[in-house]
């Protein structure tokens, strides 16, 4: 086989590694930074790859495939593992059939997450091994090890990534091809293994404990754990991308590079520790390795100099080591540092976004949006609470819209809203959730609201895609992860099916209809659902007839600025719409809300306000 040398991202490398290792079923829900793993592996026609409704379902699908004798792969972001933790731990309890690998990608620095979490702890809770690669070559090679370990020890294997690894490209060399292990596919009954009634579950726990002992012994000679001798005055224990930063900062130190971070190879660690003068653990987020090493009675330094919070980089590690005297070099005068006071670029709703119109309406209704001129005065609250959820629409929380009051985790908007109602607040509560999020985990709280009752408005913002993570398909789009046409699950059928009778569907680009539906819902006394539907601007780019400002009619009231559309600007004391960004006919929100009809397509306007 011809040698392949390619620049691959960590995610692409994991996918290729799994493919070459003979994976047959892959399931995932999109989540930065893990999304590209499933996207990459879905390109192989001889693998079944699906976008599952959520991560719990994805793990269960993979588990069933594994039980039936097919190697399976699941991938998710760190909070997705929280959603999937029930079947993940169950998989550890029953063990697997064919190898099953679960990739969880943490997001140190919270580049696009609601929290910062060290998912290595799951290995301890679930009693499974966890592997951590340090670059794309290791990610590629690690997959074969992961499936072997899974089958040898009858356990799901956790592979832990971080954003920097998932989204960095490095060189991957291989001359391997895909090799599917020969085995008959088919489920073999084994009630004591697969049916976890207490009588059988009790038999599995001691098996899990023994399994860990076996894995710890196996870790001692696993090639993924390696000692690299350098200067013996300083020994560094590290894993993942933190190892790469450490090599950069301490080119002459000795290293114990761990590829399996749980269970730990205690003898190897002792062997290393005793031969160096000082031992330091350099790891991102929690002192996961450090605490285990200290518990072995080994003296070690770690979080005294390396932060627990945020993403690491070589500068942070260097500063920390220098502060506690582990770096001897002469420090050149520090550079200029970040230039202060530069305007930030927070992410925004795109021009033509189907969420903007709804947020504008509810923002005005709730007296949330402040005209720029009246900045500084407190907005009068009108007794409206907007619980929110995760997706592009979360950006509705930012100024000028200020139209979201909570955002905790996937699907939380509806349950939180119900909780507020049941707590007895006199405020009107509106829950806002996207289409993919609703299918992911919004159905169950909606059932709760039907069953337990309550005066509640649920708004489903349906843009026909899972947008924020890169416009993936979901059960509502009717197209699979591998591009095949399938059945679309219709949101209004689901909503009516669970028993909501007050259901309205309105266009995301019709302000009047949105306003009417919202007012009517807020006036009604029970549970109502409004589906606000419009295609995502990025996926349906149409730029016919950008809007312009009519200089004779505009009085600079700045109401249109409160939509938060990036195409609408205030320049030289005038409103200006950038024709390169405005999507024109496909949107028209600004045109609809202007109280003086001063926004229109160019051909309708006498005197266009100059740029």
């Amino acid at each position: 086989m011809a040698k392949m040398i390619k620049l691959l991202s960590g995610n692409e490398a994991l996918a290729l590694g799994a493919y070459h290792a003979g994976v047959e079923v892959a399931a995932a829900y999109p989540g930065t930074p893990s999304t590209e793993i499933l996207e990459s592996i879905a390109r192989f026609d001889d693998i079944y790859a699906e976008w599952s409704t959520n991560e719990k379902v994805a793990v269960e699908v993979a588990l069933g495939a594994s039980y039936a004798g097919a190697r399976s792969l699941v991938s998710m972001k760190h909070v997705g593992l929280n959603v999937a933790s029930d079947p993940f731990i169950a998989a550890s309890t029953t063990g697997v059939g064919a190898g099953m690998v679960v990739v969880a990608a943490d997001d140190p620095g919270m580049h696009s997450s609601q929290n910062e979490q060290d998912s290595r702890h799951y290995a301890r809770l679930a009693k499974v091994p966890v592997l951590e690669p340090g670059d794309s070559q290791e990610a590629y090679e690690l997959m074969a090890h992961a499936f072997d370990i899974s089958e040898r020890f009858d356990t799901p294997v956790l592979v832990r990534m971080t954003t920097r690894l998932s989204h960095s490209k490095s060189v991957v060399k291989t001359d391997r091809e895909r090799a599917v292990p020969g085995r008959a596919v088919g489920f073999q009954r084994d009630v004591a293994k697969y049916v976890m009634v207490p009588a059988y579950a009790r038999l599995r726990h001691p098996v899990m404990e023994e399994r860990l002992v076996g894995l710890a012994a196996f870790a001692e000679t696993l090639p993924l754990n390696q000692v690299l001798w350098g200067d013996r005055s300083l020994g560094v224990v590290s894993s993942g991308v933190a190892y790469q930063y450490s090599r950069e900062v301490l080119p002459r130190a000795s290293f114990l590079k761990l590829g399996m971070v749980y269970p730990l190879p205690e003898n190897l660690i002792r062997y290393f520790a005793v031969q160096v003068d000082r031992l330091v653990v350099i790891e991102e987020l929690d002192p996961f390795l450090e605490e285990s090493i200290r518990a072995m009675g080994i003296s070690v330094v770690g979080k005294e100099c390396i932060p627990r919070v945020g993403e690491l980089n070589p500068d942070i590690i260097e500063d920390g080591l220098r502060r506690i005297g582990l770096l001897n070099e002469v420090v050149s005068s520090p550079g200029p540092g970040v230039a202060p006071g530069l305007p930030k670029r927070p992410p925004l709703l795109c021009p033509g976004c189907p969420h903007a119109g709804f947020f504008f309406v509810i923002s005005r209704l709730g007296k949330r949006s402040r005209a720029p001129k009246s900045r500084g005065k407190a907005a009068s609250e009108s007794g409206l609470v907007i619980t929110g959820d995760i997706g592009c629409y979360t950006l509705g929380a930012y100024p000028p819209l200020n139209a979201m009051d909570t955002c905790a985790c996937m699907g939380a908007s509806i349950g939180q809203a119900l909780g507020m109602v049941k707590a007895g607040t006199s405020q009107r509560v509106v829950a806002v959730i996207g289409d993919s999020t609703f299918l992911h985990s919004g159905i169950t709280p909606l059932v709760d609201a039907v069953y337990n009752g309550g005066q509640l408005t649920v708004v489903i913002l349906d843009n026909g895609t899972t947008a924020m993570t890169g416009h993936q398909h979901h059960p509502g789009t009717g197209i699979s992860a591998q591009g095949k046409e399938t059945r679309a699950v219709k949101l209004e059928d689901v909503v009516r099916g669970v028993g909501v009778s007050d259901v309205r569907v309105v266009s995301a680009f019709n302000i009047r209809d949105i306003r009417a539906a919202l007012r009517s819902s807020l006036d009604s006394s029970g549970l109502s659902v409004i589906i606000v539907r419009g295609p995502c601007a990025v996926r349906a780019p149409r730029h016919a007839q950008p809007r312009v400002i009519d200089a004779e009619k505009c009085n600079q009231c700045q109401l249109c600025l409160l939509i938060g559309c990036p195409a609408i600007r205030w320049e030289s004391k005038r409103i200006y719409i950038d024709p390169a960004s405005c999507v024109g006919d496909a949107c028209t929100i600004c045109e609809q809300i202007c109280p003086r009809q001063a926004i229109a397509p160019q051909f309708e306007v006498g005197v266009v306000a100059p740029a």
Binding site: S112, N313, P343, P399, E571
Partner: protein, 221 residues
């Protein structure tokens, strides 16, 4: 083998990541070890994008340390200022002369720095600041989407990578049907960079004749 640490930055949608991918591929073809990393996720929604590209014999960290970037290619002026603290003393800063206002500036909450302020921020690290009219040049060429390969043409002047390899990789990485357009943009970018460099070099060095060989000087000795 010289080491090169490059920073490519701009606003989501300008083609920063494709550009930094191409640099990586060209360097790989030339036998370098390469690591590159991007901040993305919400960049498409008008956010700041920055790519670190590291070329060398054996590269460990995908992230470049502050004060160690040899060459910055900035697609937008504010982003050039924002990441300027990564530049080493005397680094090459190629800055596209284009401003994209963030929403906060649109709403007049914040002020976009003027050119003097931006150059002043860059001058904390280097005098080798090259303002390139990339956006207007590619618009004149008729294809504003080739901005990224135009700026790659500028960067190529400072890297010991064969032009032919640049052109081959670019042809492979752009959508079918626009290869010629992109190669033209790359060549124009190269030409423009040499023109600006020689003009500024003549001002810096007075009457000294600047040889084409002198144009490459971006790496660490």
């Amino acid at each position: 083998m010289k080491k090169f640490d490059l920073l490519v930055t701009g606003v989501g949608g300008q083609g920063v990541i494709l550009a930094s991918n191409i640099i990586g591929e060209v360097a790989l073809a030339a036998g370098y070890d390469v690591k590159k990393t991007d901040t993305l996720g919400m960049a498409q929604r008008g956010g700041s994008v920055v790519s670190h590209v590291r070329l060398g014999r054996g590269v460990y960290s995908p992230l470049i340390k502050a004060d160690e970037v040899d060459i910055m290619v900035a697609f937008e002026k504010l982003e050039a200022a924002r990441w300027s603290h990564y530049l080493r003393l005397g680094a090459v800063a190629i800055v596209n002369n284009h401003a994209q206002f963030p929403l906060s500036v649109n709403l007049e909450d914040e002020r976009y720095p003027d050119d003097g302020e931006i150059v002043g921020i860059l001058r904390r690290s280097t005098e080798r600041i090259y303002l390139i009219d990339g956006t207007s040049r590619v618009e004149a060429l008729g294809n504003p989407r080739t901005l990224n390969v135009f700026l790659l043409g500028c960067a190529s002047v400072f890297l010991p990578l064969k032009i032919r390899v640049w052109q081959d990789i670019i042809s492979q990485r752009v959508p079918p049907g626009v290869q010629k357009l992109n190669i033209t943009a790359f060549n124009r970018g190269r030409k423009e960079m040499r023109r600006v460099y020689l003009r500024q070099g003549a001002a810096e060095y007075g009457a000294r004749v600047v040889d084409t060989e002198d144009v490459r000087g971006g790496g660490r000795a």
